[in-house]
Amino acid sequence: MVLDILNLAADNLLSPIILCFVLGLAAALARSDLSVPEAAAKALSIYLLFAIGFKGGASVAAHGLDARLLASVGVGLVLSFGLPFVAFALLRVMTGLSRIDAAAVAAHYGSISIVTFVAATSVLEGRAISSEGYMVAVAAAMEAPAILSGLWLASRGGTGHSEPGLMREILLNGSIVLLLGSFAIGAITGAEGLERISSFIVSPFQGVLCLFLLDMGLVAGRGLREQRGVLGLGAVGFGVLMPLIGATAGLGMGLLVGLSTGGVALMMVLAASASYIAVPAAMRVALPEANPSVYLTLSLGVTFPFNLTLGIPIYVAVAQTVTGGS
């Protein structure tokens, strides 16, 4: 299996997607003025969410509504609620972060990174490993619960006063709505709908992902450059250890529900990844005392690159070995 992982990792590292991320990272660290306009970055992310949601829905329409869908969403919710507690405990042991900062970071690790998910699906596709279409719905379900756990952890210290309207804002967050909405549209219009727009959402997908990851690299690199020194060694260690713990939990849950090889791998990826869009915005509103540099740098500068380069190949190889999948 180690050989497998190494092979897969090498393969992965030399894919255009990862290389684009590396290019962005390097350009930002070298202080190049290369940058993707904010509006373009947002348009790319709308495209990715729409495409991945739609394809997930169309795949559910094609394969029929699996009884496992509900169970998968259920374990996704459990993971999202539960992982922040693990993360919080780890952070208190491994780092000197304050309760508030630790709670904020913990919320990020219970939630998910949709780009990591997308990158993983494209690795699976590259290796012709199929997965359950409804994993997209699981991803959407996992975005928000962790925020509640994080706020609860923080409020035990007495700070997190409840923000009116926050829950609504979190649940109606643009990425959740778009993901679930396009999933529903894909499920309703099915194969026919997919065929009508596949030359928009299927064929150019990998290329768009390249540009998106170029930008993610730029953003991550800029963050690392400007926030160097914000993270101690303990925090960086957490940023690598926590995804492995999350992935292990995801593996267990995936097996419990009886997902396919690809499904197990994706559940591991979801559990292992950390949010850098929905949760940071919620934290700024509800937990303004937490230092954004800490959670953004950890999530985007440490865990995201780790998952993208080494994490995904590891999770896929483990999922293959454990499920005996091809």
Partner: protein
């Protein structure tokens, strides 16, 4: 041309708080405001730039012209939102046309 004394309040605040701030302003009796985009900046919490940001991140500048006697109410309201967050507030004396609007 006939002008009238007023105050110009400029609040730079995190984008996720924008709606809360403007709601508070309206509650405080403010009759209008204008929101400008912000590209980047620097302060006690470090430097940042909007380039490539995804999500409702970054900051915005909210500008509010009001009658001087309403200033205190506005500042209370604004401060309630800005207090715990990243941002700055500045107030300038100004003149406006069409005073009946403010």
């Amino acid at each position: 041309m006939q002008t009238h004394t007023a105050k110009r309040v400029e609040i730079v605040i995190e984008a996720p708080l924008e709606r809360r701030l403007t709601d508070a302003l309206v509650k405080a009796g403010v009759t209008g405001y204008t929101v400008l985009p912000v590209l980047g900046g620097s302060g006690r919490s470090g430097q940042w730039t909007r380039e490539g940001q995804v999500g409702r991140s970054g900051m915005v500048a909210v500008i509010c012209l009001i009658r001087p006697d309403r200033l205190d109410g506005l500042l209370e309201a604004a401060f309630g939102v800005v207090e715990r967050h990243i941002g700055v507030v500045s107030i300038t004396d100004c003149e406006v046309l069409r005073a009946e609007r403010f």
